[in-house]
Amino acid sequence: MPELTYREAVRDTLATAMRQDSDVFLMGEDIAEMGGSMGVTHGLVDEFGPERVRNTPISEIAIVGAGIGAAMQGMRPVVEIMYEDFLTLSTEQIVNQAAKHRYMSGGQLKVPLTIRTQGGAGWSPGAQHAQQLEAWFVHIPGLKVIFPSTPTDVRGMLWSAIYDDNPVIVFEHRLLYPVKEDVPEKLEPILFGEARVVREGEDVTVIATGPMVHRSLEAAEEAGRNGVSVEVIDPRSLQPLDEETLVTSVKKTNRCVVTHEAVTRMGFGAEVASVIQYQAFDWLDAPIERVGAKFAPLAFAPVMEQFLIPDSEDVLEGIYRTVGRKRNGD
């Protein structure tokens, strides 16, 4: 089994798709010679040329919009929005156009467009380069939204995104790019709507996305040392959402913590908490805990940034609250 970083896994999927399918091409800012601001597409222009690995102007509206137009003609464009903060610029095209052409046409059109983007705090980029905006797009019927947390998942799910006949937004996370993992020899597609039980446990279910999956695993180890058995589940695809796996787990553990790096208020976790309370109300032994960023823009000074975003300690505290313990295990 080859070992790939998350970054290499994304690149591997893009290259594999482009090798087998002339309808797949890439557009984005600085993605050719520079390989993208995160180095994800490094080297692809050498193999596929500048027609298929297209550097664009700084035009987020046109990047997404041209992707929509090419997709409506049956191509499978993969566009990169350098930072998910810049999705705000293309939101009209994503929300009003990509998400709705199929619907408004009464089923005449398909928009097989993949939008890759990344973000995430933890390196002091300030308030406009690290927001987590996935919840905005989960709210829009017509879009699919995925947030893979491991090399294997991003490799298989990006493949499914490229070959999905709907617009898919792929949220990557800057801090995940160097994460390494043994991945299957052959690229295996991973279907959307299937959550992954990352770690089994008996007492508390932690539902985590993106980097919080890894932080939750750390918290789970620590909780385990204190006699609390934690199950960690990564939904992986936020829309469609595998409600069944989440609910089944909570019916087993009777306690639930939902965590993401985005701000807690109106975050993706609010929807998950609602799903759980409605479908597993009688099984719950404690209020559902939500662990996310505090309600402020991301600050620059590292000490302030770290204060705002959730870490494994915050998840651990959430876990302990559900079992009625203080942080020291009393």
Partner: protein, 324 residues
Amino acid sequence: MAKVEAKKKGLSDERLRDFLREMLLIRRFEEKVEERFKAGELPGFLHVAIGQEAVAVGVCAALEEDDVIASTHRAHGHTLARGTSPNAVMAELYGKLEGCSHGYGGSMHLYDVERGNLGANAVVGGGLPAITGAALAFKFRKEPRVALAFFGDGATNIGTFHESMNLAQLWNVPAVFCLENNWWAESTPNSQHSPITDFTQRAVAYGMHSIKVGGQEVEPVYDAASEAIDHARRGDGPVLLVVDTYRLVGHYVGDPQVYRPKGELQKLRETQDPITKLRGRLGLSDEEWEQLDGEVTREVEESVEFAKNGTDPAPEDALKNVYA
């Protein structure tokens, strides 16, 4: 910029009569739509393009079958001129399954993908980026096709216009940006929304070829559109096609037009009606005119009957077509 004068190079009278028929059909269709809307039969709200028929007909006639268009919130004429039947458009306005968007779209979202209509867009300028992308796909696949976006003067002030123009020229894709300049952005006149009156200047910034033509006579519109479309199809790059025209009605059906100078509308109607102009150009006798008018009026009446007898979607059909 190339200025296209009315070239007498050769549209036959027969072809021009076809154009007249199409323009009159659009006119009678939109008048009927206004009437049925005011009678309370049509849901939502409507924008008609009375006065702009020569643009829709002249431009669409210059397109080939495999070409594609994106339209605007003022879409009835473009859609009819692109070949969608009055029945299918009217049924859409009545929210019926037989409509060209099967009841999911309405007046501002008329689609007919089979006839190359990728959709009317209710967001001003919303369709331009996708037209750029469709043209990119044609270039990728080396298909001799052209993608054309209709939009109004109001759209020249929004980012989609500028980003699309820039990208289309940069990548030399076979797109035509057809600016249907009716001098009004809803109720806001050109003088309040744009620092220029000659919109071909917008193309200069992108190094794009532009063509300007008056939009009240269909023949020069057709010639200018043909030149623009041929230019794009040859691989010589995108074109900004500016068609100066007049909206001889309000922004929406029922608009009291308090913003119009008194008497302006009446004067424009008397001097700038494209159908009157073409009728005069062809020298139609009263008899010929009445016969033609009778034919298209019947066709429109039949479309209303067709629409009224159409199938209502089931409420739960609203959950279909969200995903492919």
